[in-house]
């Protein structure tokens, strides 16, 4: 698969605070993003022949019917949650390399009007609330402890990380603040006011050790990217963002991760990405040293630090010191991270903004452009398996 496909188009709707995209519907948002991504590539719906989705992927039958896609040749979805974000482009690439389709869209649409991700594991709520997760045999071993939202669950991993490695809240703050600084320069970002260290420490604690600013946003919006063969990509509007490598999956005993907490001690306090990272570097034929900019799924600040470790940008347990040294700051850090403002400060569209930013960095058109960037890493959420990642490079 290496170097045989490229991302050629990106599109997005505006980003909205939770629920404010109404009266548009989620699939309407997906359609707008998809059409925008095709236009960006210089393509139309008549060129589209595949869907490669992840997490809450909708039934493409209605979507294709709405858009009038002439011939759907591939429609598939990675299982799991936000872990599959970057990997959906790998799924698209696999379809293209296999000859099953030629022009494949990966799209995420999110509307949290009727439900909130922040309470996605709550057993029940006030009457009429639709965020409830029905009691389940596995959930019974988690919910009665009070763990009802992903942030509370990841806080348990973060607490262990602090205990094992001496990672501190100052380290988490550096992730939040550096990301916010990037968002402040972007028109599209939902959070653009300055975040200082004082403000971080004054913020209310949500679930120790995670405070308000360690949490990503709850938003609405859609982001789409279009992938095609490298040959076709070279005839299109923008310089291709070549898919060097993509991998998804993870250890079976990482499994449901935060919703069982039984992961082996060796990698409990990790992002669950170590196996995926190893395969990514193997496929690409390069290592972390080759990466100019990293778009790391940031639903919660400690998970960015754990991904820095799991992808080998620093040693296991050294992620805190790595961020404290200024390495992830744009423009002068050794590895600018989440130059688009991430899930934390730009918008949370379950990781697709990271893929979009990776493409723009490779094109050289990013708002916070890393000068001379030729290789960009995007990752899907540290979550239940599959986790995933994508390595893009310029065609120069």
């Amino acid at each position: 698969m290496k170097d045989r496909t490229a991302v050629v188009g990106v599109g997005a709707t505006p980003y909205y605070r939770r629920g404010r995209s109404v009266p548009q519907t989620a699939m309407e948002l997906a359609g707008k993003a998809t059409i925008a991504a095709l236009e960006d590539a210089g393509l139309t719906v008549d060129d589209l022949d595949g869907f490669a989705l992840y997490s809450m992927g909708f039934d493409t039958s209605l979507f294709a019917q709405w858009l009038g896609v002439p011939d759907v040749k591939f429609t598939a979805q990675l299982t799991g949650g936000g872990g599959g974000a970057a990997g959906s482009v790998g799924l698209a690439s696999a379809a293209i390399v296999a000859g099953m389709a030629d022009c494949v869209v990966s799209v995420m649409t999110l509307q949290q009007a009727a439900s909130r991700f922040g309470a996605s594991f709550a057993p029940r709520g006030t009457p009429g609330a639709t965020y409830s997760a029905p009691p389940s045999p596995e959930g019974n071993f988690i919910q009665p402890s009070g763990l009802m939202g992903p942030g509370q669950m990841f806080a348990v991993l973060a607490q262990r990380q602090m205990h094992l490695y001496g990672t501190t809240r100052e380290h988490f703050a550096e992730v939040a603040i550096s990301t916010r600084e990037n968002a402040r320069r972007r028109e599209t970002a939902l959070m653009r006011d300055e975040l200082t260290l004082d403000r971080y420490f004054d913020a209310r604690m949500i679930s120790d050790p995670l405070c308000l600013y360690d949490f990503c946003l709850e938003c609405d919006g859609a982001v789409a990217v279009v992938t095609t063969s490298i040959e076709r990509a070279r005839d299109l509007r923008h310089p291709p963002a070549v898919v060097m490598a993509s991998a998804h999956g993870g250890a079976g005993r990482w499994g449901q991760a935060i919703t069982w907490m039984g992961m082996p001690d060796e990698y409990f306090a990790s992002s669950g990405h170590r196996d995926v990272a190893k395969r990514l570097w193997e496929m690409a034929g390069v290592g972390p040293d080759a990466v100019d900019v990293a778009l790391l799924y940031d639903h919660f600040t400690p998970m960015v630090i754990m991904q820095l470790e799991d992808y080998g940008f620093c040693g296991i347990g050294e992620g805190g010191a790595f961020v404290a040294d200024g390495n992830i700051r744009w423009p002068n850090g050794s590895l600018p991270v989440n130059t688009h403002g991430g899930n934390l400060s730009e918008a949370y569209i379950i990781g697709m903004t990271h893929v979009k930013e990776a493409v723009e960095q490779i094109r050289g058109t990013a708002v916070n452009q890393v000068e001379g960037a030729t290789v960009a890493l995007a990752t899907g959420g540290p979550a239940s398996i599959p986790t995933s990642s994508l390595l893009l490079r310029s065609d120069r």
Partner: protein, 143 residues
């Protein structure tokens, strides 16, 4: 019904056992902690499931455990993600590892414990929370 300090209100605690998990909850209703152990290779599996993740055998025996363990990690929940839990906050959600089980961990409320006394590595002992007739869930107190 007895409720230790620091648990969820009964209205948000509902069980939905299946064939694999029901023996666990039948035992807790009798204030007994039992864990499924593979009859072929002796590996504990938790939560209860259809297969041994080590040898893939299906049969288990339910082994009693005294419920003394060690706090592996935790979070202090201070914000109500749904209104129903607001009055119960703050809550300590803990992960307790049980010795002699190959690393079985229970995720449970840490009860009757001051917030500033919570620390990873502390010994924990079992406390029962009788939610309603027939439903009892395990919790832990740090000692």
């Amino acid at each position: 019904m007895s409720a230790p300090r620091g648990v969820l209100p009964p209205d948000v605690v509902w069980l939905a056992p299946n064939v694999f998990t029901e023996p666990f909850w039948l035992a807790t209703a009798e204030h007994r902690l039992t864990l499924p152990r593979c009859t072929s290779c002796g590996t504990y599996r938790f939560p209860p499931s259809a297969f041994c993740f080590h040898c893939r055998a299906q049969a288990v025996e339910w082994v009693e455990h005294d419920g003394t363990g060690t706090l592996y990690s935790f979070t202090i929940i201070r914000h109500a993600v749904i209104p129903d839990v607001a009055d119960a906050l703050p809550l300590i959600a803990g992960v307790v590892e049980l010795p002699g089980t190959g690393g079985v961990r229970l995720v449970a409320s840490i009860v009757d414990t001051d917030l500033d006394a919570v620390a990873i590595g502390k010994p924990a002992e079992l406390v029962w929370y009788d939610v309603r007739e027939g439903t009892t869930i395990p919790c832990f107190r740090l000692v």
